[in-house]
Subunit: 180 residues, 2 copies
Amino acid sequence: MQTQSETTGPISPFTDLPGVLQFMQLLWAVVHGVERTSKRMTSDLGVTGPQRLVLRVVGLFPGMSAGDLAAILHVHPSTLTGVLQRLVAQRLLQRVDDPRDRRRAMLRLTARGARVNATTQGTIEAAVGKALDGVTVRDRAATRRVLERLAECLEPPSTQAKSDSPRKGQTYRRRSRGDR
Amino acid sequence: MQTQSETTGPISPFTDLPGVLQFMQLLWAVVHGVERTSKRMTSDLGVTGPQRLVLRVVGLFPGMSAGDLAAILHVHPSTLTGVLQRLVAQRLLQRVDDPRDRRRAMLRLTARGARVNATTQGTIEAAVGKALDGVTVRDRAATRRVLERLAECLEPPSTQAKSDSPRKGQTYRRRSRGDR
DNA sequence: CCCATGTCAGTATCACTGAAATAA
DNA sequence: CTTATTTCAGTGGTACTGACATGG
């Protein structure tokens, strides 16, 4: 039952955790921060973090399909179903049948959706912007590299590259149709 | 209804998103990766990511209280209650009444808990270790800085420092008793 | 009495698996 | 018929708020 290794001397839980664990703590702090902010957004904005991200992306690329969105957001299509339903129920998002493929729907923002989308106050994106602001270009690039590696290492073990071929988002990719 | 700004020319959803959004995509990729791995761990290990982190920390600091743990993990005490219950129900964790303060319980791993704790295969920690491995010290430090900033910016607006005094885990801090 | 610690009750979202419906 | 796209049903965990019990 390991008690304290990798460090020297007596340790206090609030200062030192061994190497990787320390990073884990930081990672969870960020993950929880994201989730907490997401929850707070619900009362302030009316939408959660993932929901707003959907609005944001659909705002940039009107007419996207659910599957496209799922691939971008790295979520399972069935997860997106629920998110979209809530957005539609709130009249923030609108689905229009795709004439060329009636399994799909083209997603667009409603006027209300656009309004919510325009609000940045207190969003995760705002926090990210604030955090990134005042960080050197070098550090940003480094963080990017590390996070990309991390995301890659967190991908399902199957089909996982040797950790050297980036391979892009592997998660729920399923593209097919000509890329718009 | 903004369509595409901040970038030049026609864009494809799978390549370019404007600045901060790009980072958002990466961030969500990591967050989802963490959650996905956590879920997968449930079937492979029997514990989720947060659950294992609790085991990990309690393994390092036996006798911790729930509140201490909540502060370290940056979660609300009531959230921890459920996590602890599941761990106790699985006989991975054991609570012993603290003689000096009977509201508290001292947490310890059971033998089974120690065994699970020792397993690293397929854990988030393993992925983090693998990702960090082969990253320069510089990049690690940079990432650390950025993530710390980010975590800070994601903290609730109240009691938030000027972004220069690290101030340790701010989230649900409520320490009181002498730090062991 | 007041504060601290922690649990309980209730609620919501997300995320998955696996199966099914619809369309290409 | 086979494949693609998406939804539906069911499950579980996390995380919160707010109230409450117990102890210092």
